[in-house]
Every structure is written in structure tokens, then in C-alpha cells.
Symmetry: none
Subunit: 339 residues, 6 copies
């Protein structure tokens, strides 16, 4: 596993602090959540040993991003294999909170890093594509559930609501996340901007060249650091028995064939690529973020400040949790206790 | 095209009126909306000639239900053929209102029938699975957009909101619709019950045996007539160039292979199957609905009346239209005028 | 007493566990609660000896379901015989908690089974149709009181409130119950779904063919195992002196005449009938429940997850106990904490 | 003046139409509005002779974009030269409507093209950076005033309000514009998306490489064709007497020095660069736009359709004109007539 | 009669035109309107002979400003002398239109000047303090009636309404007027600004030093030329019989005593005093107005343009004529069409 | 540091109270906010020791008014030095509320004065030019954000909205503020008048002679005391490294060169200059304000009272806060807590 690292010029001015951040570009150990967390443990430790204070993992790192899978589904069609494929995928997902979340919090504490982890969360039998946030004291801060999955993802993941669009005001900057094509949603992004995001994490599964344009655009639009994390996966990282699902999509089915090409990148608010993109291997993408660049950039464009036009444009973000059923009771209820 | 028809016993009691209703079990002319409407024209005329006052078509009859299609989509994967497939599918969809809606209104008027038509609606570039309602005077009453597509459908259709869940109070009874697996949604159904639905139309693409159980259950749960309409399609009804998409799903790809087996059925509030199900061919499913059966059934169970328990269970249905962008202006704007 | 039993294929995948469950289809020993409990003891032991971990009894098994009784009541009419009939029926009912409940708890512990028991509960002089829940360690978990009796039942039973709609999160799955036509109540069912019910018990007195449709529908709607338990009763199972009450209903008054035909059934979340229905005799209906089927089914439809539409439909369940008289003091009341 | 032209593959499917569009990358004739319009006349004619149906000019083409000018202004500081510089700049600006607008309408008609023209508009003594829209029949459709100038521009231009954010539904597609860093405003863009923009014109003065990323991002975000038009200007295109203002900014003050490097580009909704960017000279940038690409792209992402999340995010656009003084009167007033 | 005259530097730039304007600082011939008009005739001719294109007279030049008069009025007190004084004052006032107005129009035509004349207008028996506007072709453009008299003036003059607040768009600039302390009314001034006033005439009776501050402020606030005209009067200019009325006010009652000290002044939009103030004698105050100064000034401050804040501040001016009695008929009334 | 002080004649009339007020004419300690506050501490103490109850500081005293800076900005041009200059300027600005605000409140309390302080406020990365208000009990009353910056200021400051135009009703009079050229905005001033301002504070950076005219005019227009506070700065008060930015503007770059000449002044409602202007040095400008002068002046002119003309002129002030993004939620959100 190679490590990309960018050093930054020393800034003698005390008003401008530097934060070292690392993106992990690595693959899930598919269908094996314990081993995936072991892998995360090593990667976090390596990033921390490089001096990083923030470590960002890709979308679905825990639980996996089943690229090319079809779960036996076409329009109006299901099949038995697909159902069982989903059962296994559901089994690899984690509860939030839950033991895996506790473990990740411990890793953040031990390595003294802020951690943003992409995970597949299960809530009952619906899965969510989630980003988990931890501070360097080992506290689980909360989560963001992707509000709108893309295309086929809608067959396997549910929809987040407005109650989990956090931006955390931390000592290393204001930290938030947009997952994959949420990054294409101008109103979602504006919600993050409205909360003051400075460290804009973009766990993704989009490894295209065009994605780089979006990351560059967002860095300048939002006046924030963009940290895009994508898995680098090869055919061998996926289970053998889904081979036939790949047939239509990949010419090359040998073990080394690249299924997700990464492209993780860190870009400054001024539109400077600080580290990456890496399209060739797993690796750590590291850069020193000069937080003073945010003010430098916002002199010209502050999307929710002087360059907003609030007498014309008003975005309302409904943060109420949306639940199909709400139970109202004053008393302690038996069913809340595990028996 | 054969026609199934059920005659009903004459009811001498003047307090109980009879409505003859017909379900059309037929296939879209795929990728050819004008010919599909021509086909509808003939079927409506035939139903009307049998004395029917209500004609119900299946889900997506106009525009088509692309069973087995995959639009080049798997998790995290797209392709060019799929994109073009969608472009054609979008081209077959209709605007509501629009010329096709006008044509259908004219057919309702000419044949003096209430008409419920399943259609693929386009609004900009998002498609919706919609049911259109017309009265026998040729007036377009309104529409219902399916609120939650099923599985792969979410890749090609958008989501309706609460503003199009109509129940129309007509001289032949209160008329509403639930499309396909909306019939599985207890809260959606309860919304229809809450509006007093008596003629519960269920345009669907689900031709399974289990579907019959749901229709029976709903007739009794809702104390209403259930009219389930499903297409009967064979391989030859779909375009040749999507053959490969069927490969995984159907052993038998000959022209006569059944792709959608119908199962259209009419059930009374008392749980009596009045006509159908037909699993063998295209056809018209006709029955005389004795509206007196609704009172007969509700003596024992009235889901939104004496058998509700409103001190415990309260359903709120948010009927506000939900739009991503709302424009506020008092003046007529140039851009509202076509140039 | 014959026993129906379905064996299930062994599933080697550790992520998918199997639970053997038994429904008891048997008649109350009318007007004799001690003997009824003795009968229950034997049936539980037999189910346990077959390896079952969950045993479900029909509605009113303890206390009896007085099918065909009229308690001397017509509109605006009472009589003395009816009053005394009620006195005896009240005498057969049990207090909850109370000695019979303790006995049932002991049976659950001894046989190491989870137990769901239909019982007629008395609270003062009002009777309730109740389901009692016990865990396999012999602990009484709580109860569900039927919230809305059906038709004539309203002359002899009271109405439950929202405080007893439990779903217990147990090692064998999430366990809840809907009694008889509560199964027709979409909002009641949604309350159970909202609590995550996986083992949906349906003690009932409805032995109709149409009931099977509802059970099938609920299994698919809820994505849960449905375990429907109904008494199989013959004329001889009822006291002689109520004969005249049957006159209107049954042509055949001989001792073997079937008064309640059973139809107990177990259905999987995928809509597969795993055991039953038995319409011919008392018996045990047993099946192995592959809990992995829940995830398999919810891939396509999760009624309170990805397929809910909470921005439109919101159900509120008021779980406050509703009492006509409330005494206010400052101390914490034990009953609020009993689980 | 060189001409870049892209030919597109012929599409035999009648549902997908092709529109040829040209961007004009050329410099204002500074301080000489009549000659600037003469220059426009030639460029429009050339584009039309190439078969283009849509011609788009850069920001401030009429009136000029005074790059590098400082109008004698620093914080809290003015001077006399700067005031007179502004007086001349004001003199070069045009009234809308007015004779120059009439002339442009005539050019559109004569060349049978839709025309989008960047102009400096004067309304009283405040200037606005405006885009003018004309149809191919020579009708002035309306205008868009830039809502928020960038940095120093705020010293010389006023602020548009919400009343001029048009999207015109024309036979060649839905036509709208965002000027320069309005393209960075996510809510402004979403307003255009909400009106269904298909031909998204981006007259700009930003010729940076990073601008290309924003154009690419917007094409994909909006699912629309992006046509970015920027002036190509050299030192000699500006008046001699502002030399000293350039001193701090440009090393090279010779006549050929590039002051605005262009970078005009046309990108498809699928993220494909169809023509340009040209960073080297004045020129016409031409491409054939396959409107079917919009549907192809929106299959996956429809920013105001299936991929919006309107239960969470709602943008309100206030289109009321905002005027400091409103006069209310029923009668014809003398002062409205020129005397 | 001396004449103050400021010459202005020649401006070679054709975009910036020069207008020569003259203020007349002279006294009414009290109680003798014909002679007052004769005096005006001479003064206009002199101004015209100096090349002026605009001539502005003080408040009440025709009819007189009865400084120091008390009309026998104190709180709750009248007397006969005062009544007769008013009768004479009323007699000196003019009808608008009327023969004096015709005469003034003729003078404007003959001298080829725009003319703004202060006059006491009578409408029935109420007097108004009015400014009359004439173009250089001898056309009476219209009038402004002072909307709010000051203090004692309220005992002798009525109140104008919103229907006479004109600004005339003339070849020499946009022409309007505010009379005396209307110049202190920020909303009145803003109404003129909103109509684009460029030649802001201020006929007044305020000859204080503080008045100069207001004129300076308004020139900069409005970005307009301010032409303030005040009578220069001595004791001898007033009738003898009002002597006692002066007792309280002036120490010095000799004939040469100054009753109104003038202070007429012309100020540019940049805050430069172009001519005056003259506090010593009757005279003509003349200056060349470089209209380019308006743009030069509005670069920094445009009160109804870039420096307004119309999302916060909105002034509504009700221009409906307000009459105590309105007669309704169907015919178009000539007065509504007079311009 | 010299101190100018005006004593006022003793007023024996008990109905008219006297308030001693001091304007601070002093320079920011540029780029050093802690030292600037230390300097404020001394100046407030000195004013208080003179008996003042109200102390008013100039525009941008905290944070600084960067006169002559250009932040590397021309039309369409930025540079790196300018960006970093802004970063430092941003670092010197303060949060409101925040520790510096707390410190100022403490100073007001300790010295028992009302305090109006000009400050550069930061809200995210946009700066605002703000006036802070404190009462003599040490309570922070609120703030006014300048609604419209002037010319180049628009490149570095955002725009206030209508929600911060306070007038505080205090025991020493009604206290409000207009910053710099807001004093030129007739509608802004009228808003303050409408709220009854009596102590009209005008923190400014305009030290011109013409400014004195505006202050005089406003005192008479508003019938209020005007307290204008402007910094007195020399070249040495600014950092060395911005020298080149001054080159175009100042002939004289020696350390003692005057960059901001002050001109702070106090004027009574009757148009009497009570203290100042001082154009020569830093200093305290002190006067005793006889509040009875307000009534004395309003006898003749009450801009929002008897001299308004509300049947014609109506100003609407929109005080709604305007925010680009609004978050709606009932629950406490994790992100609201600092971690």
C-alpha cells in the first residue's frame, strides 16, 4: 500500500492554522465486516503515524459498495439468488449505534484523529448509505444518511431524511459530508454551506474523470476544502459467485481487473489540487490544509455570505426526522427494554 | 381478442344500485403511443357496448411497463444503450395535461364511461407512473402519481407526493386508485379509505397468485369494490432489441412466451370474486357491482368508521405539493409565454 | 390429536437462523378454566417435545370464545338467562396478573418455550379479549388487549387502549400479536410494523377461507412471519343449555357438528405457506421459520423502511393508558415499571 | 478570425432533434458601442452561414468588460480620473429597450437565429450586467440582469432582482442564462433548473482553467447543455489611457498581451466537451447539440425531478421586482411622456 | 441688479453636455401681480441674454411670500384686519391655468428658456404655494403644489396632494421641484429621485445659513444639480400697513432693512458650489451645469439605483388626486389628458 | 491625546434634561484587535471621568477601516497578496456575540456609560460593518449592520438586512445609528426617524467638509442630536506592507501624513454645532445635549409627525431577517453542540 503525501509550506502567521488530513483509498473486505474493520484499523494507524488529524474513508467502506451487482432485479422482476445476495449484504451492514461504531470510536481515540467513515447502516431491514463521524477523543458525534441513492442503489438502500445533515464545529474546522451524487445536489450542498462546512468530505463510489470537475467546482463554490474518498477495488476484492453479474459490464474478468478506480483527491478552497487524484492503487492521500485559504477564497465568493442573494433565493431545509410511525407515551414501555 | 364477461344476478331492491364495470387486460403497443391509444379506443368501445359505465386499464398502459428491462444499470454502473433506451421510453411518455389526455377525455365522452387509465407521465425529464381519471362527460378529473415505485422502477420513475391521492365522488360511486405495490402500503390504502373510496381501482403489473390474496384482503379491509387491472403481455409485445436483457430471467424466449400473465380481477366488499382472475389471455373482465354490498359489509367492519380506533391511531396525510423550487411573483412573466 | 409439522431445509449460512414454531389449534374446555389450562399444559409439552421454541394459542383459549351465544340480547332487549350466562362467562375469565398467569409462566419455563396465549381477562366486571406473552425463562412479559371487538363481541368485551400494543425484542425474533379482526385494521398492523414485528401472531376466531387471504397479505405487507391460531370446536365442546342460541346459525346441531373450523396457518414473509391451514381437526401446526427470509423479502418491500413514504403518511399511535379515573400522587407507581 | 466547428453523428431517431449552436469568442470594441454592434453583426452572420440556430455572446460584449480598471477607487478613496472613466463607461452602456436592442432584434431576424447577447445596461445612472434574449423572428424576448456582481464589479454595476431570471421555452429548447460567477451560485442555478433550462448559456469574463470544471459540473448537475462564452481580448483592445491601471497586474504591457484568454466551451448533459475550449484567439465555437442527450443524462440524475428531495429541500425564488420607489396612480401622468 | 455668473470649463467629450442655468433672486412686487410679471419678464430676458436655458424663480414670486404677516391670527383669535389682508392676498394670487400662466408661457417661448416659477395659486378660495413649469417652446408643462406648508403658512395655504409631483424629461435634463421645507422631507425628495430628477429646483423662502447645508446634502444625496431660489426682500418691498406685524421680529424697521436675505445657490452632484450663495442683493445666479457630473457622482452613490436597498426599504407614493367631492360620469375628462 | 470638551450652559428648567456625550475621534491599532480594545478602554474611561453618559466610536474602530487598501482587486482581477491581506483583516474582525463583545459590555458597566462602538463583525467568512450598542449596566443591547457598503467596501463587506436597524429607548434618549453613507440614504434615515431616534449616532469614515453639511441637514431633518464619529489616522497607523497601495492616492507618504482627518462633530436638533468638528488630531469631542431642544425643533418640523404627508408618502421597512438557508427542526441537534 503506497502513501501519497503533500507537505505544505510553513505559515508563520498565527492566525492561519494547518490541519493534516488523509483520505483512505482502499477496498472493503467484501462480506466480511470484522476483517474490514481490522483493515480500517491499520489504515487509520498509518495515517495517524503520518501526523494526520483527520482520516476520511470512502462510501460504504464498511458493508461494501456492491458495484456491478444486480440482486436479481430488473423492472418487475426478482429472483431467489438476488434475495439471498441481499440477505448477506444486510448481514454485513452495521447498527448505528452498535458494537462496530464503538470499535471505530476507540480507533479514533487511540490514534487521536477525527474520523469520517463510510458505512452501510441497517435500521430494521432497510439499509442506509451512511457516513459516521468521530472526534479524536473517541466520541461518536453522529451520522449522515445519504438522502437520495443513485439509480440502482435505490433498490437496495433507503432514503435519509433531513435530520442527519450534520456539520460539526470541531477544533480542526467545521466538518460535514456529502456522499457520492449528493455532491451533485445543489440544495444539499447549500445546506452544508449554510452550516458553515469547512472540511467538506465526499465519500464516493464515482471514480470518473468528470467527478474531478465536480470536486474542483465544489471547492470553489463552497469555499471549503474538499476531501473526496473513493474505493480502489479489483475483481478479486469481490466474491466469486457474483461473476455472472459482471458479464455485461466488464470485458476483462481477470482477478486484477479494476472495478473501482479511486480518484481520491484533496482540493483547496482556492481550487488548488493539494493531493491526488490517484487512479492506480490503494493508498493514503495526504495533504496539509491551510485553513487561512478559506478566508482567502471567500474574499471573492462567499456562497452563503456576501455572494448570496437572500432577498431572492431562500432555501429551507426541513430537518424534522420523518418516521412512518410515531409512538406517543409518557411511561417506560416494556418493548423498549430487551427481554 | 377474447372477452370475459360476468353477468350478475338481477337485484330487485331499488335501494341498491348496480354499476357495470370492465377491466381491460391488454398489452401496451410498446414504443408506439399513438397505436396504444388506438388500441385503447377499441377496447373502451367494446366495454361500453357491453353496457359498462366504468373502464379500468392497467398500470403504464400508455407508455408501457418495461418488464425485464435493465436500462444498462447495475449498482454503480451505467451504459450507453441503457441511456438511449430511456430516451425512447421518455419519448413514449405523455404530458399531463396534453394532447393524449385530451384524446382520452374524448373517448370517455364518446363512450359515456368513467375511465381510469394507467400511463407513464413525463414532467420535465422525470417520469411518473400515473393513473388518469375521466368522467363520462369527457372531463379529465385529475391524476394519481404513484408515490413509491418498486425496486428497479425507482431507477426510471420519480416519486409522487401527497397532492395527487384523489378520490372522486361520482354518480357511480367514489372512485380512487392505488397502483401496484401501493396496494401493499397500509397507510396509503387508509388514505383512500379516509376519503371514502368505493370503487378501488388497482392498476398493477403484479400478476402473481399472491396478488389475489391482497385484492381479497383489501376488498374486505376497505369494504369496497376492488378492480385490479394487469397487462397480459407476451415476448412478441416487446421490442426485439432488448432480448438480451431477458436472458437471465426467462428460459423461454420464443415469441409466445408470457411476460406478464394478467390476473385481473373484480372483488366485492363481502370478499366475493365477481369476475376473473384471467391468467391466460388479453380480455375484458366485466362485472355488475351492487353498491348495496358496501353497507352490507360495513355492518361488521368499517375501517374508517366504527372499527377505527381514533383515540389510539391517527394517520396524517400531508397533501401539500412538494416542489424543489417555488417561484413567487405577482406579475405575468415573459417566460410563462411560449415563444 | 394429530400434529402437522413442516421440516425446513438446513441452512448452512450462520447469518440466517431458524426458529421452530407451533400453533395450537384446539378448543377451550368451556366454562372450566382449570381444565382448559391442563389441556394447554399438554399441548405446550407436545410442541416443546417437537423442538418448538414458540407456541401460539387461539383467541380466547382461556375463558372461551362463546360462538353463537346471544346472551339474551337484541336491540333494546335483555333477559335473565342472558344475564346469568354472562355471570358464568365472567367467572371463567382470569385476572392479569393472577394465579393462572403464574401457572402459564411456569409452563413456559418448564418447556423452555416462548408462549402467546389467548385469554379472556377480567378487570373489575369488564372483560377483555387479551393475548398474554411469556418468555422461555418463565417470565410474564405483558399483554395485548384487543382494541376493538367485532360486532356482538362489543356486548360482552370492553375496548383495549394504546398502552398494550407490545412488540417484544426476543432472541427468537420480535414478537407481537393482533387478535382476530384487528388483523383487518391497517393502522393497528402498522403500529406493530413500526415496532419491528417479525413473529406476527394472529390469535383469531375467524376460520373463513377469506381469512387465509388476509394472512397471506399481511405476511407480504409486513415482511414478517404470520402465525394464525384459531380454535377447532365442535358442538360438543359447548354447554348444552345454549343450544337454542345456535338454532339460527347451524343446520346441523349434532355433537360432531363443526362450530369453529380452525384454519390455523403459518406463512413466510415471502408469501409462502409454511404449514397449514388445517380445517379438519384440532392439531399442532409447526414450521421452521428461516429468519433470513425477512431480509430477503424486505429487499423489495419494507413497509416501515424504504417503502414507507413518511413525508406524506405519518401514523401516530397514542400509547397513553386511558383510564376513566386517574389518581394523582407523587410516588412512582410500580405498575408503570412492570415489564 | 478562425472558426471551430464540431459535426455530430446523424441520429435517425425522430424523437431526438439536433440544434447547431455557436459561441462567439470576441472582444468588445471598447468605448465604441456602434462599432461593437457592427462587429456583432458580422459574427452573427458568420455563425448563421455555418447553419447555427443559436448564437451566444460573452458577458458585457456591448459596453465592455473593463478588466483591470480600478476607476480610481480603493477603500474610502475616490479620484477625479476614475469618475470620468465611469462617465465614459456609462455613455457606452445601452438602454433596454432602446435603439441598440432594436438593432440586435433585427440581426436575429435577418440571420434567423436565437441570440443571447451580453450587454452593459443603463437604468438611470446605475449600470447592470445584462444578458439579452432574442428569438429568430426578431422579437426581443427579455433580459436577465446579473443578480450579484463579483468583487470590484460591485463598484460599477448594480444588483439585479428576482424579476429577470427568465427561461424561454423555444422551439430549439428551453433557453436561459447565468452570467459569470452566478454560475457559482447553487441557488441561482437551481432557479434555472426549476424552470427547465436545457440550453444553459454562461456569458462570462472568467477565462481560468478552473472555470472549465464548473462548466463540466453544471452540465452534469443540471442535465443541460452548457454554452460558456468569454471574450478574448488583448492589451490593444483597451484604451491607451488606462495603462497605468494595468501596471500592477500584467507583467507584459505590449499590444499583443492577452488580457482575457477566452476558454469558451460547449458541454453536453452527459459531460462531453462538444467544442472548445479555445484559449488562443477570437473565434466561433460551434457544436451540434443532440437534445436527446438530456433524457439520456436525466435517467440517472434529474436535479429538480427524481433526484430532488423536496420533502427536505425547498428553494423559494422571489421574482417580485424590487424598486426603491413605487408610484401609484390611475391616470396618465404628464411625466411619463417626453416633453 | 447685479448678475453672478460662473463660467464652466469647456468639455470636448461629446457624451457630456453643458446646460447654463440662472436663478432669479428677486422680490415680488407686493400686492401687484401685473407688475410682478413685468419684473419677471425683464429678469427672464436678462438671463436668456446671458445664454441661460433654464430660469428658476423663488417660492411665491407671483402672489408674494408675506413674511412677517400674521393675518390677525393667534390661537383662538381672529380679527377683521386680518380677514381683509387675506382678501387682498387672495386677489393677488392666480388661477392655473389662466391668463398669467399664458403670459409666462409666452415669455418662456420668446426667450427660449425652460422656466420654473414660484406662484401663489388660487383654486376657489383656497390658496396653494405652487411651482409652474414651462418649456422653451412656450408650453405650460404642469405644476407642483407644495404638499405641506410650514407652521403659520398652514393658516393661509392649503395642502397639495400626490398628483402634482412631476419630473419632466426634457432635452436639458430631468426637471422637478421641491418648495422650501419640502426639501427637508426625505420621502418627498425620494419621490423626485425615483422619477430621476437631474435639475432639482428648490424655490424657497428659507435664507438661513443652515439652508446651505441642506442644499449641499441634497445635491450629494440625490446625485443631482440643486438650484435653490430665494427672494431678496427689504422692508420697502412690503406694504406699509403691515408694519406693526414686524415689531416682534425685526429690530430694525427702516426701509432698507433686509426681510429676506436670499442665499440662492447652485450646487453640483459632486457637492461643488457652482454659483452663489448671494446674501446681499437681488441678482441672477448663473452657472454652467456639466451633466456628466451626474454619472461621475453616481459611480459612488445612486440613491435609487445601486445604493438603494429595495429588499428592505420601499417607498410608495400615492399620486391619485385627492378631492373632497368626485363626480362620476362615463366620459373621458379632458383634465386627465392634459400634459 | 488631547481632549476637546464643550461645556454647556446650565438649564434651570426642570422639564429639559441634559445628557453629556462624548465622541471618540481616534485610530484603530491596525491588525491588533486586543490592543485596539485596550485603547478603547482608556478612551472610555477618560470620557466617563469627564461625566459623559454616552460614548460613540467611529466606524470600524475594532477591526479597522483599511483606507486606501485595494486587496489586489480590480475589475476581473485578483492576486495572492490581496487574498492574504483579507485573511488578516478577517482575523482582526470579531464575532458578535463573542469575547470582545463581552469585554466591551464590561467596559460600559465599569464606566457607567452607554456605548456605541463601530466594529468589523465576522459571520462565517463574510465581514459586516457593524455598530454595537451597550447600556450603562453592561448589557449588550444589539447591533446594526450597515445595509449597503460604499464602492470598494462592497468587495470586503457583506450587506446587512432589515433586521438590525434598532433604536433603543433608553433613559438618556432613543439611541440609534447610521454608518457612513447610510447617512446619505433618505429611506434608511426615515426608518430611524420612524422609530423615534433622538440620539442619532453616525460612525463614519467620511472626513470631508461636505460631510458636515449632511450632519447639519440630518439634525434639522430628523429633529435629533447628531453625533458623528470619524477616525483620525496617519500613515504610521497602518501597516508598512500596504505602502504600494497608497501610491496612487497620496502624494505624501511620510509617517505623519494624514490618512483620515476626522471631523467628528455634535449638532443639536436646532442646527447648532455643539462640539467639533476637529480636523487636526485624535481627541474626545464632548457636549451637553439638552433634550428639550428636540421639542423646540419639532414645533416647526416633525419629519414623521405633523410634517409627514402619509396620505401620499408611505415607506415600508422590511425587517425580516434574510438568510440564504433556513433550517427547520424541533429537536436539539448534535451539530449545535461544540465538540
Amino acid at each position: 500500500m503506497s502513501t501519497l503525501k503533500t507537505t505544505t509550506q510553513v505559515n508563520g502567521d498565527s492566525s492561519s492554522s494547518i490541519v493534516r488530513a488523509t483520505i483512505v483509498q482502499a477496498s472493503t473486505v467484501y462480506n466480511d465486516t470484522p476483517k474490514t474493520i481490522e483493515k480500517a484499523e491499520k489504515l487509520i494507524a498509518e495515517a495517524a503515524s503520518n501526523g494526520s488529524k483527520l482520516v476520511v474513508f470512502p462510501e460504504g467502506f464498511i458493508g461494501g459498495y456492491p458495484r456491478g451487482f444486480r440482486f436479481g432485479i430488473a423492472v418487475g422482476i426478482h429472483n431467489e439468488d438476488g434475495r439471498d445476495e441481499f440477505r448477506k449484504y444486510h448481514a454485513s451492514a452495521i447498527h448505528v449505534p452498535g458494537p462496530e461504531v464503538d470499535k471505530l470510536a476507540e480507533l479514533a481515540r487511540k490514534n487521536n484523529v477525527y474520523l469520517v467513515m463510510g458505512a452501510i447502516e441497517k435500521d430494521g431491514y432497510t439499509l442506509y448509505c451512511t457516513a459516521l463521524f468521530f472526534n479524536s477523543e473517541g466520541r461518536f458525534l453522529g451520522k449522515h444518511r445519504k438522502v437520495m441513492p443513485t439509480s440502482f442503489e435505490r433498490c437496495i438502500w433507503g432514503f435519509g431524511d433531513g435530520s442527519t445533515i450534520p456539520v460539526y464545529d470541531t477544533p480542526i474546522g467545521k466538518l460535514g459530508a456529502a456522499i457520492c451524487w449528493e455532491n451533485r445536489m445543489p440544495l444539499y450542498r447549500t445546506a452544508l454551506y449554510g452550516k458553515g462546512v469547512e472540511l467538506y468530505c465526499a465519500p464516493t463510489a464515482d471514480g470518473s474523470k468528470e467527478w474531478q470537475s465536480s470536486m474542483m467546482h465544489i471547492a470553489m463554490e463552497g469555499g471549503c476544502f474538499v476531501l473526496s474518498a473513493c474505493q480502489f477495488c479489483q475483481r478479486k476484492d469481490f466474491p466469486a459467485h457474483v461473476d455472472h453479474l459482471f458479464t455485461d459490464w466488464y470485458d476483462d474478468q481477470h482477478d486484477e481487473a479494476i472495478v473501482s478506480q479511486g480518484g481520491s483527491v484533496i482540493i483547496s478552497p482556492l481550487g488548488k489540487v493539494l493531493a491526488g487524484p490517484n487512479f492506480e492503487s490503494e493508498g493514503l492521500i495526504t495533504a496539509d490544509l491551510d485553513l487561512g485559504d478559506i478566508a482567502r477564497a471567500k474574499l471573492y465568493f462567499d456562497v452563503v455570505g456576501h455572494y448570496s442573494k437572500p432577498d431572492v433565493f431562500n432555501l429551507t431545509v426541513n430537518e424534522h426526522p420523518k418516521k412512518p410511525v410515531t409512538f406517543v407515551s409518557k411511561t417506560v414501555k416494556a418493548e423498549d427494554l430487551r427481554v
